[in-house]
């Protein structure tokens, strides 16, 4: 096993733990993107460039866009509910 492969394995281990340990969803999305890059590196140094190519787009663009859109929708709904609650007593 080469040094690069060991580094990749360590990065994936640390990255995965970091994703789980991050509590706030918005931050978690960004950490997830970094974890995806670590995975891409892992696939590349373990001679799976095909998988690395898919992983880099899916993890750095594909998943974050969907998660961020969902988070924004939740915030919009919370915002709307707060406004309604403020108006209600009057």
């Amino acid at each position: 096993m080469t040094a690069l492969q060991l580094i990749a394995l360590a990065a994936v281990m640390l990255g995965g733990t970091a994703v789980v340990a991050t509590a706030e969803p918005l931050r978690q999305t960004i950490v997830l993107g970094v974890f995806g890059l670590a995975l891409t590196f892992l696939f590349f140094v373990f001679q799976a460039p095909d998988v690395a190519l898919s992983e880099i787009v899916v993890s750095s663009v594909g998943l974050p866009v969907i998660v961020l859109a969902a988070l924004r929708k939740i915030r919009q709904q919370e915002h709307a509910r707060e406004e309604r609650e403020e108006e209600a007593p009057e």
């Binding site: 190519l53 787009v57 859109a69 929708k73």
Partner: protein, 252 residues
């Protein structure tokens, strides 16, 4: 369920998984020494029998093309599900039209640096995606990888803060057409095998010389079909999700 109980359940399940994994790992061949029969056979024969220099693509689009057909339609079905769930209802359409300042959607405040970076990224992504789709049988990559890279191109327009321009470049009708056309083409190429050589998804085309752009028989065609479908499917999913939030009153 209390925190204590949850931790207890996790401890039992975690220990069980750890034992099973350890048992499994001890039976693995040592690192770098796994030479399975199937892999060795493909490595030794695929370049001569299929005239492809990227054996992963040879597997995906020729030797086990039928598996890819299944994967194609898994993607197709899931994207259809997403579009169905997130479709615009009659009442929502009205609200959308009445919303003031729809041109200035919530993500319009991109900095100049981000806009420039996105502008540079768009042609690079499109060129690289097209390269991956067309060179599937020669170099690592192929329809799926090229498709996702191509799909990231229009997303760069979103990064520049121009979601509505992105929708002009990649309107939903076009994405739906690409998604379905790609899936249909793949199935029809398979039918070509059935008609001309008698086996579904068997290569009916001349193999060409290895290392050339037009080699590997039906592999480039399958690659293009898959690229079209994947690019359409990914962009359609993103557009559906973004439509839920991007269009509407801007909120903090």
């Amino acid at each position: 369920m209390s925190r204590r109980l949850r931790l207890g359940v996790f401890a039992v399940a975690g220990a069980g998984i750890a034992v099973v994994l350890l048992l499994g790992f001890t039976g693995l061949p040592s690192f770098g020494h796994a030479h399975e029969l199937y892999g060795s056979l493909v490595n030794r024969t695929a370049d001569k029998l299929r005239h492809a220099t990227d054996l992963v693509t040879a597997l995906n689009f020729d030797i086990r093309a039928f598996d890819t057909l299944g994967e194609e339609f898994i993607l197709f079905a899931s994207v259809t599900g997403v579009t169905l769930l997130l479709r615009t209802l009659r009442g929502e359409e009205e609200r959308e039209r009445q919303t003031p300042g729809i041109e200035e959607h919530a993500f319009a405040g991109a900095s100049d640096g981000l806009k420039l970076a996105s502008l540079v990224l768009i042609p690079v992504l499109v060129a690289f995606g097209a390269y991956l789709v067309f060179h599937g049988q020669l170099t690592p990559g192929g329809g799926f990888q090229g498709g996702v890279v191509l799909a990231a191109g229009p997303i760069a327009i979103l990064l520049a803060g121009r979601y509505l321009s992105m929708k002009v470049v990649a309107p939903k009708v076009l994405l739906e057409a690409g998604d379905s056309l790609g899936a249909a083409c793949y199935a029809l190429i398979g039918l070509g095998g059935l008609i001309f050589v008698g086996v579904y998804l068997k290569n009916p085309l001349p193999l060409g010389s290895p290392g050339h752009l037009l080699s590997g028989g039906m592999m480039p065609l399958n690659s293009i079909a898959v690229g079209l479908e994947v690019a359409g499917a990914f962009l359609l999913t993103w557009t559906e999700f973004l439509d839920q939030t991007m269009i509407g009153p801007p909120s903090g």
